[in-house]
């Protein structure tokens, strides 16, 4: 187990390093140099020179890369050019919106998909199964931002149950914060819950066709117990993979959904930074999101070890 862990950890570090190089190189190929790009065509020579110095453009690319990564490791993400405040502070503030939103949505997705998938699988071919499959077919096809717009119209503008946008802030209390995140989280969770339901259902159906389910039934295990005691944990293995992948879709989806609801999250930050050509912010946020995706997939890998004893073994 220890060796397995070390191996995976090394893999994780390599993946993070390569991803950071890719992002760095992407921004290195900006037409002209980054300073000229950020300031636009009408920049005055002295401001340009000042920004060049601030970005360290006079040094070599290798030097700048290590300065950037070194700073990141110390928690110093540089100074935003447009806002003149430390990027790290901005990111931390925005994280308090984006991370709860992604987790809220993931929680909803799992909370809907597991029961729905199990229910449909255990009543295969019934009206309930067909109903679940029909609804998920629609859920997969709905663009989540459009669904969000319709929900705003119904629940915020017509019924006034939820705010139509903006974020109350956690200072207003947990309830107020969650309330302003509820519609965005539902919009984010709908397609993911639909996909996860279908995966859960088909994975459980596959598992229920396995020989060991028949063995269990031959011991006198009821159909119901066979699903819960033998089928479910085996069915969870592919489902875990999908949950890991979904996290990256949730992060990406959150960037769009934050724009529908005017939530001050990382997604909004990135768009504002793009329109104001603030590359310092863009590269830091993108790197952070990529790190999050890699880290979650690492966590999923680890979770396999908990579920499946075959992976815990020697290797």
């Amino acid at each position: 187990m220890g060796r397995f862990l070390i191996r995976r950890l090394l893999g994780l570090i390599v993946a993070l390093a390569v991803a950071s190089v890719v992002i760095f190189l992407c921004l290195e190929v900006v037409p002209g140099d980054p300073a000229a790009y950020m300031l636009g065509v009408n920049a005055r020579p002295d401001t340009l020179a000042a920004l060049r110095a601030e970005l360290g453009l006079d040094g070599s690319a290798v030097q700048r890369y290590f300065d950037w990564i070194g700073g990141m490791l110390r928690g110093d993400f540089g100074i935003s050019y447009t806002y003149r405040t430390p990027v790290s502070g901005m990111i931390v503030d925005r994280m308090w919106v984006s991370l709860p939103l992604a987790l809220y949505a993931l929680g909803l997705s799992v909370a809907i998909a597991f029961p729905a998938g199990i229910w449909a699988a255990s009543r295969r071919g019934s009206a309930a199964d067909l109903g679940v499959m029909g609804v998920t077919q629609l859920g997969v096809a709905v663009p989540n931002f459009w669904f969000a717009m319709l929900m705003v119209l119904l629940f915020a503008i017509k019924l006034r149950w939820f705010p139509s946008g903006g974020f109350a802030g956690w200072d207003e209390g947990l309830f107020a914060g969650l309330k302003s995140l509820t519609l965005p989280a539902i919009a984010l969770a709908l397609p993911q819950a639909s996909i996860l339901t279908r995966v859960m259902r088909s994975s459980l159906l596959d598992t229920l066709g396995e020989d060991y389910i028949r063995t269990a039934r031959a011991k006198g295990v009821s159909r119901r117990r066979a699903i819960w005691a033998h089928g479910l944990r085996n069915a969870l293995i592919p489902v875990l993979t999908i949950i890991g992948l979904q996290f990256s879709f949730l992060l990406a989806g959150a960037i769009i959904i934050e724009n529908v609801f005017y939530l001050p999250g990382l997604g909004r930050l990135v768009f504002q930074a793009i329109s104001s050509r603030d590359l310092i912010v863009v590269e830091s946020v993108v790197l952070l999101l990529v790190f999050a995706v890699i880290a979650v997939n690492f966590a999923v890998d680890m979770a396999y070890g908990l579920v499946d004893p075959r992976l815990r073994g020697r290797r």
């Binding site: 663009p143 459009w146 717009m149 879709f249 960037i255 050509r277 863009v282 995706v293």
Partner: protein
Amino acid sequence: MKGLWLGAILVSVFVGAALLSLVWVPYDIIQMNMAQRLQGPSWPHPLGTDHYGRDMLSMIMLGARTSIAVALVAVGIGMGLGVPLGLTAAARRGGWIDEIVMRGNDLIFAFPSLLIAILITAIFGASAVNAIIAIGIFNIPVFARLVRGGALSLWTRDYILAARVAGKGRARISIEHILPNLTNLLIVQGTIQFSLGILAEAGLSYVGLGAQPPVPSWGRMLADTQTMYSIALHLALVPGLSILLTVLGLNLMGDGLRDLLDPRVRRAAR
């Protein structure tokens, strides 16, 4: 089988509209007509008009063209690069090519297509072409992984051994024996990636990272009406339902094709 037909009908309606828009649309959409703005469905304008008085049907037809073209080319990029990579990786299992392909796949999977789009846009600005590239790049590992997995299981078949005993090389076997037996898998996955591409394009256009004016796109139609769809609901319903129905049609087709082409399912159905 019903699903396949329904899906095929939905898809052909929108593909037909996109093709028709190449030669004819009911109204010119460059021309604004403020006197006709925000009208509901009527005979002259079956889907109503938007906030500039432009005909929604014409906008939807032209938007279908953008969406379908972007998604189709992105699938093409993904297949064009992913399939050879996957075949090579499987043929040289465990070799350095395999290692590079797999690690490269993992890396791209860490960048959701939206993040790629953000990076590209931050550097080169927003355009439909950049949306295609962003979605296409994300499709490469999808196909590479699918083909590698499918090919690896085929490489263990006895008929591949027989071909090797007949002196055929790995490249020849990949093309003659492996690829033809993966076509079903590719058709099904291609349909799914096509539908995901439509959704991704809509999302990118919605946040302004996709097609730029005056090129119409469904996603931007929704973004443009964000402030007024509460007073003219058709502004949100028409483009939204177009996306929904196209994606739904493609997914139904994908599922239907899978059932049709997968001999295991076919046998069970008989």
